[in-house]
Subunit: 185 residues, 2 copies
DNA sequence: CACGTCGCTCAACAGATGTAGAGTGAAACC
DNA sequence: GGTTTCACTCTACATCTGTTGAGCGACGTG
């Protein structure tokens, strides 16, 4: 409705977006082992066009992987909601791309570490424990583990669990740790 | 001392073992993207010999990845000890190979799921909760998450934490869940 | 309507990869 | 000691990869 006849630049931008989406999907499925040709095929485009738009596979990968982490969230419950994906049963493509590659691509590893680090830091700020940093890291690492088990391993008991039930359980469970008094001499 | 002069078959078996170790190391570093040539180089051997011994990359990968999971362990604390690696700072090579590849290789995914499933089942058997299955899955998934964060992401707060401190903290933390009364209407 | 711009495809290359088969030299055996 | 076995290496091949540069044809402009 804004433009009945899309201009040339608009078309170009549109295919660029289509390529990026295809890349996120492919990286989310095959990790960093995804191929330019596979991405091009999915986008319905010639492989060389992919590079004309994004320069190199590396650059495209970096873009696909950093895409949706810049949003800032502050509280754990919201993080839980996102990552445990209460309503949807599938993670957003960029997140899938990042997590799928985080063990095989140093680039993705770095992005993931930074992300978790930030999350842990904001979480630790809400604790006054001496071991706050470690405990916060424990929490975010656990959430990551549950996400992996649920969305990538299809672990029975998580994959088939109802999203809201799961979120409630996890939240209740994670809430416990901070309040528990140390029971060690 | 058993044999001062190793026989031909013994030598062959020895190089086979050396190749397998090299494979675990390579798969543990590069995931399923590791190459036959890389494995051969690490073993100090011709690439084609690798295939003469193990048939195909697939077969070798399967072997490298299944290697040390057949050991049966029964209790969570021992599992924790293993996986959080109290004394050592590095996971055993086969475990590294499995975890590194579990997000990019369907084969490794399957092995990991089965493994976690078994662990969760034996853990769930010790609970009498209605949500036992889900809670047990939650626990094993969390342990996996912590292991990944510690050994693959080098997440600060976990990677630099002392092993025994960490194990104690995790154990105490995980112990809480089962005993906690439901605080939801 | 003619022309130039440019989004896109075609064709090609150099390198790496898994894998197969021939060849080689030393160990095992008679 | 001569011959055979066999653990191992060499060479080769087909395929797939990322990446490049030339070319084409439709769109926008005069």
């Amino acid at each position: 409705m804004t433009d009945q006849q899309p201009t040339r630049a608009q078309r170009r931008e549109a295919t660029a977006a289509r390529i990026l989406e295809a890349a996120q999907e492919e990286f989310g499925t095959h990790g960093d082992g995804a191929t330019i040709r596979g991405i091009a095929r999915r986008a319905g485009v010639d492989p060389s066009l992919v590079l004309q738009h994004y320069g190199s596979k590396q650059a495209l990968f970096a873009l696909a992987v950093r895409a949706d982490l810049d949003l800032d969230h502050d509280d754990v419950p919201r993080h839980l909601e996102e990552v445990l994906d209460v309503r949807l049963r599938e993670l957003p493509a960029p997140t899938r791309a990042l997590m799928r590659s985080m063990l095989t691509s140093p680039q993705a590893t770095e992005v993931m570490r930074t992300y978790l680090q930030e999350r842990a830091a904001t979480l630790a700020a809400t604790m006054d424990d001496e071991q706050a940093a470690t405990r916060a890291a424990l929490v975010v690492a656990s959430i990551m583990g549950v996400t992996i088990a649920r969305h990538f391993l299809d672990l029975p008991g998580l994959a088939d669990a109802d999203g809201s039930d799961l979120a409630e359980l996890v939240e209740r469970w994670l809430d416990l740790a901070p309040d528990r008094p140390t029971q060690v001499p």
